[in-house]
Amino acid sequence: MAEERTVMRTQLPTSAESQNPQLKKALEFPILEKQNWLIHLHYIHKDYEACKAVIKEQLRETQGLCEYALYVQALIFRLEGNIQDSLELFQTCAVLSPQCADNLKQVARSLFLLGKHKAATEVYNEAAKLNQKDWEICHNLGVCYIYLKQFNKARDQLHHALHLNRHDLTYIMLGKIHLLEGNLDKAIEIYKKAVEFSPENTELLTTLGLLYLQLGIYQKAFEYLGNALTYDPTNYKAILAAGSMMQTHGDFDVALTKYRIVACAVPESPPLWNNIGMCFFGKKKYVAAISCLKRANYLAPFDWKILYNLGLVHLTMQQYASAFHFLSAAINFQPKMAELYMLLAVALTNLEDTENAKRAYAEAVHLDKCNPLVNLNYAVLLYNQGQKREALAQYQEMEKKVNLLKDSSSLEFDSEMVEVAQKLGAALHVGEALVWTKPAKDSRSQHRTTSASKAACFQQPLGSNQALGQAMSSAAAYRKLPSGEERPQMKNLSYT
């Protein structure tokens, strides 16, 4: 490139200046748009200081007539948060060129950002008159209507926007409307179309995965979440959801490895620490589980699911007094959940407060619709208290629920629950294994569960109390995983 030989600096003999009629220019008006290109380049390079300097010069030179300079100045103001100032500048632009839909669009956008959705829709409608084929106007109108809760109008506008030009954002908004209306199937349909259109959009893939998760279609959910993670291995929403699914299948180590990524990205996420805690619980590292759950509880003190899990872990640790506090706190936030009352009753039983335990069971039975465990545990308590008739009533109630469950779904019952139920049945002299036609020896019988309960067996003296302990721990296995996985779902729902 550079030979070190000295080159004479030959100036251009005629400088370019002489070509330009400098003298004549004195009286001429400068072209208004002279530096628009430079303003634009600085603007897209996000070099706002340089941009503002050029704008200032340009406006001085043109005495405020340069529309584009004003336009970009307004955009920068808006980025800096001076929405009111930017709105005024956009209005000036609209005066300078009244035929331009862009200015109106930006005015409307500013109004939208100020939360004046009604006013924004009016301006957008005005802009739509000037430019009929602009998806952006239609899309933003749709979004405004969503905020105004006029879902039908919003849907029309968004469909129109999609008709003009397809954009991921429009699909997302359309899906959101369906979710707001509680129409999951329609939402899934929309997101499916969106994924077809843009197969690499991780947000769409994640949302779709979460929707399937919510519907309980785990195969598809995992497929979409996996796809999302292929394209963006650090997408924390997808990781949380996929991790909770891994937890359901007992892959705690894999889930924990994945959670490390999230822990780097969002170290203060309560659902993350909840899930990590439940992973450790699954691995029987109870102390670690408790410290993670306590961190989650510290980050989100009003989240009853974390409190529920804390109660559960403490029950397993036989710290019944602590468990009682966490569970009663959870009940204060979520007074409508039967399982919480049941766990509270278990804690109370162990704290030898039988009267209150019975009351808690009564509340649980009252609230519950389909969980046979509640009745079984209640029956065990009643039987232990010698109230055989009441115990029998609960036992029969449980049988009803079991039959219902067997009819409606292929859910397999926890083997220990079956065992305890059979024992109790024998004790109450109601023929053995009537309902449990096939002793539920399911293939993936959650070895972790059984081992957890075995531990309970060893620690507890044999006797009627053992049955209770087992029932409780199976309850734990039954509930802890769903509660672990519901978290990210709930969280994501609030976003979508």
Partner: protein, 593 residues
């Protein structure tokens, strides 16, 4: 070329830490004072001596002193001032004459300055835009003094509101004036011919009729009035004119003008328009939802960088192929072509000081630079085929040479699981004490629970009792009776021995005024003296806070303080409506004395 690395060994050595790097650091001068964009960089053999030079349209440090710089090796060969800021620079072959030295074109304002052999050769000005006939007519009338300024203003305003063709600058200026200035303005400017001019925003070259490396090329100009012009290379006449929906910012051309060509124009409205020969307007339109920051064609794929920090790949028909997310904002993009290996890739300069090289969506290489790169250019420089030239935000110039042995393989960048996966989870530790307490709870859980419950009930009971007592003896500063809803709070001011005690009494009922209240102070007479220990309260209008002031004299010189009780009573009743205990401060005035 061989001597090049020695020219700037310091910075060269400092940077070539990575022995595995594919690049040789030929030159880095952080104070080269070159401020420009990729569009104003061009590499060409300007003198026909096989020594390729770098042409820089420099905007100057603050956009003031724009210059045309020609660099050879690390040094500036020539430098000449420019009349206006350069928007784009391009080199192209104008004719078939030997020697085949390329001409240099610089677009600036409404003109293209063409240089041959670095001497000014031709200046092309954009044709004037058509004027609004009505406007023209009005100014003609003004010239003959047949119209008064006020009518002129009204008529012009009418045109501005409705007309398709915008007004000229002269009319716009006129419309801004105050009434008093109009006359003078008209007299001064009426003789001038009206004109409307536009500005070149971007420029590129398009082969005329041959695909060869050294074929004659046309200039393609994008203008501020949303048009594309193709210029004849010899006569500089407009060969073709195409209109766009918005102002073009970046252009990308392939093909030959006489045969078939495709033109992609990234526009200011965030769209990318694709035009073909024979089409007057856009054939396809890609709508990005953000502004494009760069447009590069790699083989048949259009790569667009957007302000959302991502690269998108599109087909020539506007179908989206892929998207890659960048770690920082993209500042500039350009094509990297390694002819010997048939490699075409996209270089993107990022705001975090990286230059990333992508082939489709696979990252080939990352070059870390000391400052954010604002313009990039790759090609033959001097006698070296594969040279990367970059200028930085602070005005630095960086020249790197691709090693001849360098081979770009897939996965030169990041692959595998994200690095975050390797970091350990920060699980909070539990102390020995915690474990001990856990064991204790297991052993004595029942007793703990029962003690706790008992204490809790006792606490509740006590709280309830205290509350009832307060209500019964009206000890609270807020009265509980429905007839006289009152609120009281007291402020003590001063250092002593004289304090000012202000009671703020407020009637909190919505409508009813309260009449006939009394205020009584109870205090230790040995310690304090008040001018009035008992007085009447005026009528209390709902909502207002009444400040009732009184002075308190501290009599003790021992630095002790006491409580003064304030009672609010209803006339004729002995039980107070409400009461307040004021903890008087120690008199500091006496303590000091």
């Amino acid at each position: 070329m061989a001597a090049a690395p020695s020219s700037d060994t310091d910075s060269g050595r400092a940077e070539s830490k990575e022995a595995s790097s594919k690049w040789l650091d030929a030159h880095y001068d952080p104070l080269a004072n070159i401020h420009t964009f990729s569009s104003c960089l061009a590499l060409a053999d300007l003198h026909g001596d096989g020594e390729y030079k770098l042409v820089v349209g420099d905007l100057g440090p603050s956009g003031q002193q724009s210059r045309l710089k020609v660099l050879q090796g690390p040094k500036v060969l020539t430098e000449s001032p420019l009349p206006a800021l350069p928007a784009a620079a391009a080199t192209f072959l104008m004719d078939q004459h030997e020697p085949r030295t390329p001409a240099l074109a610089l677009a600036s304002g409404p003109c293209v300055y063409v240089y041959k052999n670095l001497r000014p050769y031709f200046k092309f000005s954009l044709p004037h835009l058509p004027l609004n006939p009505l406007e023209q007519d009005l100014w003609n009338q003004a010239k003959e003094d047949r119209i008064d300024p006020l009518t002129l203003k009204e008529m012009l305003e009418g045109i501005r509101e409705k007309a398709e063709v915008p007004l000229s600058v002269q009319s716009l200026r006129f419309l801004q004036l105050e009434l008093s200035e109009m006359e003078a303005f008209v007299n001064q400017h009426k003789a001038k011919t009206l004109k409307r001019q536009t500005v070149i925003t971007t420029m590129t070259t398009l082969k005329k009729n041959l695909a060869d490396e050294d074929a004659v090329s046309c200039l393609v100009l994008g203008t501020e009035n949303k048009e594309l012009l193709v210029l004849d290379p010899e006569a500089f006449t407009v060969l073709a004119k195409m209109s766009l929906p918005s102002v073009p910012v970046f252009l990308e051309v392939s093909g030959q003008f006489d045969v078939e060509f495709r033109l992609a124009a990234a526009c200011r409205n965030g769209n990318i328009c694709i035009l073909r020969r024979d089409s007057k307007g856009p054939k396809y339109c890609i709508e990005l939802s953000a502004q494009p920051v760069g447009l590069v064609r790699v083989h048949k794929v259009l790569v667009v960088g957007s302000t959302q920090d991502s690269l998108h790949g599109f087909t020539h028909k506007g179908k989206k192929l892929w998207t890659v997310q960048m770690p920082a904002a993209i500042l500039t993009m350009n094509l990297m072509e390694q002819r010997a290996r048939g490699l075409q890739a996209v270089m993107a300069g990022l705001a975090n000081g990286e230059v990333r090289i992508y082939r489709d969506k696979t990252l080939l290489d990352v070059i870390r630079t000391p400052d954010a790169v604002t313009s990039l250019c790759f090609g033959r420089y001097g006698r070296e085929d594969n040279t990367l030239i970059a200028t930085t935000r602070g005005g630095g110039l960086m020249i790197k040479i691709l090693k001849r042995t360098a081979v770009f393989a897939d996965g030169g960048g990041e692959v595998g699981p994200p690095p975050a996966q390797a970091t350990k989870l920060n699980v909070p530790r539990k102390t020995r004490l915690y474990v001990d307490q856990t064991l204790r709870e297991r052993e004595a859980g029942i007793a703990m629970h029962q003690t706790f419950q008992t204490d809790l009930y006792l606490l509740r009971l006590r709280a309830a009792r205290a509350y009832v007592q307060a209500l019964e003896s009206s000890l609270s500063p807020v009265s509980a009776t429905a007839r006289e809803p009152l609120k009281l709070h007291a402020v003590v001011q001063g250092l002593g021995p004289t304090f000012k005690l202000t009671l703020h009494l407020q009637n909190t009922s919505t409508a009813r005024p309260i009449l006939g209240l009394l205020v009584c102070f109870l205090y230790e007479e040995a310690l304090y003296a008040l001018p009035r220990a008992f007085f009447k309260v005026p009528l209390l209008v709902p909502g207002l806070s009444y400040p009732l002031e009184t002075f308190v004299e501290s009599l003790s010189d021992k630095g002790i303080s006491d409580v003064i009780k304030v009672l609010v009573l209803r006339e004729g009743q002995s039980a107070p409506l409400l009461s307040a205990h004021i903890n008087m401060p120690v008199s500091e005035g006496l303590a000091a004395a």
